[in-house]
């Protein structure tokens, strides 16, 4: 299995607070990797670092290395906009733009070029199909995205991320604000996405990690304690701290 992202002794500080301690992980391509751990363990910080969203936080310092396809993502010549196009992000709360469904999806492609109307139509349809939303919205593409249900809005955000043809999707608790039905739709969708994309997901829902992910990494107070096959982590964790966390003995 190809490793699409590898980190080496990666440290991250918010001011004097060390949020990530010497993280070494290899994210496999076209698999789903789940990041789990108690609040404040650094998993979301780590996720945001993968497409340099933390650049925007004042006082952030880093050391060590993160490579995407073997290229240092912090290198001077790295085009951050392009990096974020290749590594897209879906957030905890659906955040559609206050515009039509169509324009939400077309936003990224327009930003990165000037596609023709027919091309855009194709991208919109392909992205919405990719996010399993097309059939529900194809007759109201010009309507406001804000009129969609929470679950539909989240799938719209996934479609928006797909519209610029990323390679990696970062998802920060993408279903925590959704009802069980919408959650299952998103989980089914992730199983589909896995064929063409690499997914890294932060989740507080252990059962979700078990259901959907191939690999699981357990974070605790800035450290990555254990990383392995999801089944191994949840059936036979090696580290006592992992066992204690997943069985609810702390955290």
């Amino acid at each position: 299995m190809n490793k699409i992202i590898t980190t080496t002794n990666f440290d991250l500080y918010y001011g004097s607070f060390q949020a990530l301690k010497s993280i070494n992980i290899e994210i496999p391509e076209k698999e789903i990797t789940a990041l789990i751990g108690p609040s404040g363990c650094g998993k979301s910080t780590f996720l945001k670092t993968l497409n340099r969203m933390n650049d925007l936080v004042p006082g952030v310092k880093i050391s060590g290395e993160i490579k995407f396809h073997g290229e240092d993502i912090f290198a001077k010549e790295m085009n951050v906009n392009l990096l974020r196009k290749r590594i897209g992000m879906v957030f905890q709360k659906p955040n559609p733009f206050p515009m039509s469904i169509y324009d939400n999806i077309a936003y990224g492609p327009r930003l990165h070029g000037s596609p023709k109307k027919t091309e855009l139509d194709e991208i919109v349809e392909r992205s919405l199909r990719g996010a399993a939303l097309w059939d529900e919205v194809k007759d109201r593409l010009k309507k406001s995205a804000l009129g969609l249900s929470g679950g539909q809005q989240q799938r719209l955000c996934i479609a928006r991320a797909l519209s610029v043809e990323p390679e990696v999707l970062l998802m920060d608790e993408p279903t925590s604000a959704l009802d069980p039905g919408s959650t299952i739709r998103i989980e089914n969708l992730m199983a589909e996405l896995r064929r063409n994309y690499t997914v890294v997901i932060v989740t507080h829902n252990m059962q979700q990690a078990v259901r959907i992910s191939d690999k699981t990494a357990f974070f605790l107070i800035g450290e990555m304690v254990e990383f392995g096959e999801t089944e191994q982590i949840f059936a036979r964790p090696v580290d006592r701290r992992t066992e204690d966390y997943i069985t609810g003995r702390f955290g």
Binding site: M206, F234, A235, T247, G248
Partner: protein, 217 residues
């Protein structure tokens, strides 16, 4: 925040220990009935069977409740799934103790039983059952593995008993039902040994995550 879950696991453990104790006493009674011709004890072993069945249903429903409510992982999942598997073997042990007792009730077997190694066989299997349940209670991996090894002893005793019975039949072919019944009883003990081995293998799994040398889950 685990308090309730820990209490439920404790109660699962207690139910299993109780079911184990019922099985132990059922075989002990059946064996005493066999070797001493005490039909009252045979009757008790037969009555115990329905109590054991009832205990199995209790453990089963507790396990299903825990799976539903707690969605257990890691050692909790192994403990609960092992319990679910173990009770099937315990229930069979109860059936076989009852089967032995029914044969003891219908034919007088004790004089013939003393001529062969069936008493040794019974003691060896009772030891396996007791140890397999102790291994679960104490999470004692070494003890579980000793039970698994002891199965060979019981299997060999079965062959000994079988040849003893065969030799007896050659000398006195008109001995009647007793040798056939004793052979079946020996087979029941041999099966009880297998069930104790299965229990010990699930104990090993619940501690290590490895079942009969293979990773499960």
């Amino acid at each position: 925040m685990r308090n309730r879950f820990d209490e439920q696991l404790e109660s699962l453990n207690n139910s299993l220990i109780r079911m184990g104790a019922l099985c132990e006493s059922a075989i002990a009674n059946a064996t005493k009935a066999l070797l001493e011709g005490d039909r009252t004890l045979a009757g008790r072993a037969i009555e115990a069977d329905s109590e054991i069945d009832q205990a199995e249903r209790e453990v089963e429903s507790l396990c299903l409740k825990l799976l539903l409510q707690q969605q257990p992982v890691a050692r909790d999942l192994r403990q609960i799934s092992s319990a679910l598997k173990m009770i099937t073997d315990m229930e069979r042990i109860g059936d076989q103790a009852s089967d032995i007792s029914e044969m003891v009730m219908s034919v007088e077997l004790d004089p013939a039983a003393h001529a062969i190694h069936i008493g040794d066989m019974a003691r060896a299997t009772i030891g396996m059952v007791t140890d397999s349940i102790d291994a679960y209670v104490r999470r004692d991996l070494a003890l579980a593995r000793r039970v698994i090894e002891a199965d060979d002893v019981v299997d060999n005793l079965f062959l000994t008993v079988k040849s003893e019975l065969l030799a007896g039949l050659k000398i006195n072919p008109a001995e009647g039902e007793a040798p056939l019944d004793l052979l079946m009883i020996a087979k029941y003990y041999e099966r009880i040994g297998d069930h104790a081995t299965n229990i010990a293998e699930w104990v090993e799994f619940s501690i290590t995550g490895v079942h009969k040398g293979e990773l499960l889950g």
